[in-house]
């Protein structure tokens, strides 16, 4: 679905900003995302992060000392919650960056150059797309016995690019035929400049939207991989919390439930925030979706 920027006189980023902030849902989404980010990145600076094991408090209830109770190690759940957002969010961001970078570069190459390159890349996407991506991830993940967050992002990024690559290619194909690109060619502006200065900025909104979608997908994937126990656990992290809580049947104990529910809620809030943001962005940037 083609997205063209059409907000008056504010450029691409202005349009994106307006798209998010002008609509109620977009604004709420932005607020959600920002609060989760604040919670996870500023929060650790504000609280006592030392969270020692305390066997006398295993699965303790919610008290004024332990707002969300304690976990199976007698550690404070709230502190874990505050510390646990950084990794999945980082993985999400970097994986999304990788996905988008690969997709944009390959997509515009394929779309602009056509020919053999295009053919090959398309076939490649066909293949990567048909193997369900979780499966591919499963297999790749088993290569690495101690995957770092960066490695995880890389895996996710390497597996998820084809969808976006295809739609970017399709957009480049149509944009390429657009008359202003032809005009640029007539001015002899050079291929690189045409692709990166004339073509890509026209998709900035679209790419941005997909970047956000890619973040949600990456977070979905990491947390899922934790849940399946595919990722070696390292630091405190929401995915791991859910997995531990789930494996320990934490929900059987009312006082243990926050250990499962709290990270689930955080992830859902973040995802919902991102998704509502993209929805209102799409609404704003795609004139065809606007009410006529």
């Amino acid at each position: 679905m083609a997205v063209t920027t059409a907000a008056p006189g504010v450029g691409v980023w202005g349009a994106i900003w307006q798209g998010i902030t002008r609509s109620t849902s977009g604004f709420v989404g932005l607020c959600l995302v920002l609060s989760v980010l604040l919670f996870s990145f500023v929060g650790p600076l504000l609280i006592e992060t030392d969270n020692p094991t305390d066997v006398t408090k295993i699965w303790g209830p919610m008290t004024s000392e332990h707002w969300l109770g304690t976990n199976h190690e007698g550690k404070d759940t709230f502190i874990q919650l505050v510390l646990g957002g950084r990794e999945p969010i980082w993985v999400g961001l970097t994986a999304a960056l990788i996905t988008v970078a690969i997709a944009v570069v390959l997509g515009s190459l394929a779309g602009y150059l056509r020919g053999r390159v295009d053919h090959f890349l398309l076939q490649l996407t066909d293949i990567t797309m048909t193997i369900p991506f979780i499966v591919l991830m499963l297999v790749i993940a088993s290569f690495y016995r101690a995957a770092s967050p960066l490695m995880v992002s890389l895996i996710i990024g390497l597996v998820t690019w084809p969808y976006l690559m295809r739609s970017i290619r399709a957009q480049v194909l149509t944009l390429k035929e657009r008359e202003f690109i032809e005009a640029a060619r007539l001015q002899d502006l050079g291929t690189a400049r045409i692709v990166f200065v004339e073509v890509l900025p026209n998709m900035a909104g679209y790419i941005f939207i997909n970047f956000i979608i890619a973040i949600t997908n990456a977070i979905y994937a990491v947390v899922g991989m934790y849940l399946l126990g595919l990722l070696p656990s390292t630091a405190a992290n929401w995915g791991l919390m859910i997995q531990q809580a789930w494996d320990n049947n934490a929900f059987l104990l009312p006082q243990a439930a926050p250990f499962l529910v709290a990270p689930m809620v955080m992830i859902m809030l973040f995802q919902i925030g991102l998704v509502t943001m993209t929805r209102s962005l799409e609404q704003a940037l795609n004139p065809r979706l606007r009410d006529r």
Binding site: V55, I58, E73, S233, L253
Partner: protein, 564 residues
């Protein structure tokens, strides 16, 4: 639906196990991977010769009448009048075929069947096994061997008997050929010898109902009409217990489950002894400073087994007292109390740890310990993702060492092949089992502690622990040789002597650090379907998967249903 009471008024015993109806084989001879044969309920439908009592070292015979040594020959005799669930007689034909198939596939370095030279059917109920050079306890694996039906296996069985007679053994071409066929063999049903049998009508991927096998051993004696086995892994089984659906489960409950169970009506714990535990294994090649025994002792002194144990297992652990390489239960059997008093203990003692480290030339600067080389000490300790107790043990050790000033990072490796990683020595410190639940003979623990993951070969160096050690009290000792002696010496005394030496050496040198011992807490429900469980059962010290005493009492008709 799940746990509906049978309207017919049939009495039921319910259990839970993670089976897989469709893809598990019915080739019960292979045991590993066959339907329900990894569960404790296996003896209910396919009995072994007997149940070993780990405390008294005596046998409660099931299918067997008994065994008898006649020089190098072992005469194994079946009870008479046994029948298979398909109505055929269970005789020495079945027995010799089952033995022959096992003899064929037994690798030379095993104990029991590999040493069998001859098989001879003596009469309708007995078979003679001719040994070369028997040693005490060699008969154990023969008695435990599960006899399978000749109706199912006759083809293979007869061939096997012939091949054994011809001297064919594992690894020979004939056997390879035989085995290739055998592996592919997948009969449709399991013919049972125990008090229960499968009912094809009542098998689904959520539960299997075993029904009374009138023909089978104790078929008319057992007090429950049916045994229902729900499908469930550790997590699911806890849910089932929590719902009161399961009478007895041997799957590990987590600490949260343990707390949650308290609310279940009629809930009780059945405790099974543990013969292994969790500890630390070092890679001496990767971290040479650990070759200094003082450092190892110091590292042990930093840890509080109770904290680690409780976090990792809730109530399901016992702390290590003797550090003998054997679980305390076994150590107390072979040593006297006095002897044990002389054993060094490695309970948490931070001062002692610091002292030991300083003795070893370590220094503490800016709160960080530096090795005698002057390098800041740092360790990566690996647990296994998905193995909850391992994960938690590794993070607890990480926390304790870090607090003490030794930089440690815990990291979990995927659960699909940690053995590969351990064997390859691809670690610095690993959370690993110590002791051995598989082999009731004490040597098993040392074979595990010293030999496993210590092959010393290039591609699998493992711990790189030199087995020729210098013990302060025992002098130079070849541990590999001692394991052999403990296993195969002619007399029990010799075996015990070797064991004792190894235990003392283990205690002195601490090649691994035992942290806690398993205590298996099996959740059970009394008063709903089962009247009560016998807490003082004479076989209560048995290892639960091999010689389960609850199942034994069920078979023996001692476990009674609730009276309506």
């Amino acid at each position: 639906a799940g746990g509906d009471r049978a309207s017919s008024g049939a009495t039921r015993f319910t259990g839970v196990f993670d089976y897989d109806l469709d893809s598990q084989t019915r080739n019960v001879h292979v045991e590993d991977g066959a339907l329900l044969l990894n569960s404790v309920y296996k003896d209910l439908f396919l009995c072994t010769g007997g149940i070993y009592n780990w405390r008294t070292h005596e046998w409660d015979y099931l299918l067997l009448e008994g065994t008898e040594w006649d020089g190098d020959n072992l005469i194994v005799t079946l009870r008479s009048g046994l029948r298979w669930s398909d109505g055929t007689d269970l005789t020495s034909d079945d027995m010799i075929q089952s033995y022959a198939m096992r003899v064929l596939e037994a690798p030379v370095w095993g104990v029991g069947f590999p040493q069998v030279q001859e098989l001879e059917q003596l009469d309708a109920v007995s078979v003679r096994l001719g040994f070369d050079d028997p040693f005490p306890n060699i008969e154990r694996s023969i008695i435990k061997h599960r006899i399978v039906s000749k109706t199912t296996y006759a083809d293979f069985g007869e061939r096997a008997v012939q091949m054994v007679a011809d001297g064919v053994r594992q690894g020979d071409d004939e056997h390879t050929e035989f085995n290739a066929e055998f592996i592919e063999f997948n009969p449709d049903e399991i013919i049972c010898s125990g008090p229960y049998r499968f009912d094809p009508e009542q098998m689904s991927d959520a539960r299997i109902t075993l029904v009374r096998n009138e023909e089978g051993y104790q078929g008319t004696e057992v007090l429950f009409d049916e045994v229902v086995i729900h499908k469930g892994d550790n997590r699911q089984s806890a849910l089932l217990v929590q719902q009161g659906e399961v009478d007895y489960s041997t799957l590990a409950p987590s600490a949260a489950d343990q707390q949650a169970f308290q609310g279940v009506e009629g809930f009780t714990w059945i405790e099974h002894a543990g013969y292994d535990g969790c500890g630390l294994m070092f890679n001496y090649a990767a971290k040479p400073e650990l070759q200094d025994v003082r450092v190892r002792k110091a590292l042990a002194h930093i840890l509080d087994s109770d904290t680690v144990g409780q976090v990792a297992r809730g109530e399901g652990y016992t702390r290590v007292e003797h550090y003998a390489g054997l679980v305390d239960l076994q150590a107390e059997e072979i040593f006297t109390a006095d002897e044990l008093a002389g054993f060094e203990r490695y309970d948490q003692d931070l001062d002692r740890a610091a002292e030991l480290l300083e003795e070893a030339g370590w220094t503490k600067r800016d709160g960080v310990w530096h090795t005698s080389e002057g390098e800041p000490a740092s360790y990566e300790i690996i647990g296994v993702a998905g193995w909850g107790d391992f994960e938690l043990t590794s993070t607890q050790v990480e926390e304790a060492w870090n607090d003490f000033g030794i930089t440690t990072t815990a990291r979990n490796v995927p659960q699909d092949n940690p053995w590969g990683i351990w064997g390859a020595g691809d670690f610095e410190v690993a959370v690993r089992h110590w002791g051995n639940p598989e082999i009731p003979d004490y040597w098993g623990a040392f074979q595990m502690n010293f030999l496993l993951e210590n092959s010393g070969t290039e591609e699998s160096p493992g711990q790189s622990f030199d087995l020729n050690v210098e013990s302060p009290s025992q002098g130079e000792v070849d541990l590999a040789e001692l394991v052999e002696v403990a296993k195969q010496a002619e007399t029990e005394e010799e075996q015990t002597e070797a064991l004792k030496t190894m235990a003392i050496v283990f205690n002195e040198l601490l090649p691994r650090i035992p942290i806690w011992t398993y205590k298996y807490l099996a959740p059970a429900v009394e008063g709903v379907r089962v009247q009560s469980f016998d807490k003082e059962h004479p076989a209560a010290n048995n290892e639960q998967y091999q010689d389960n005493h609850v199942i034994l009492s069920l078979i023996q008709g001692d476990l009674a249903p609730v009276e309506e």
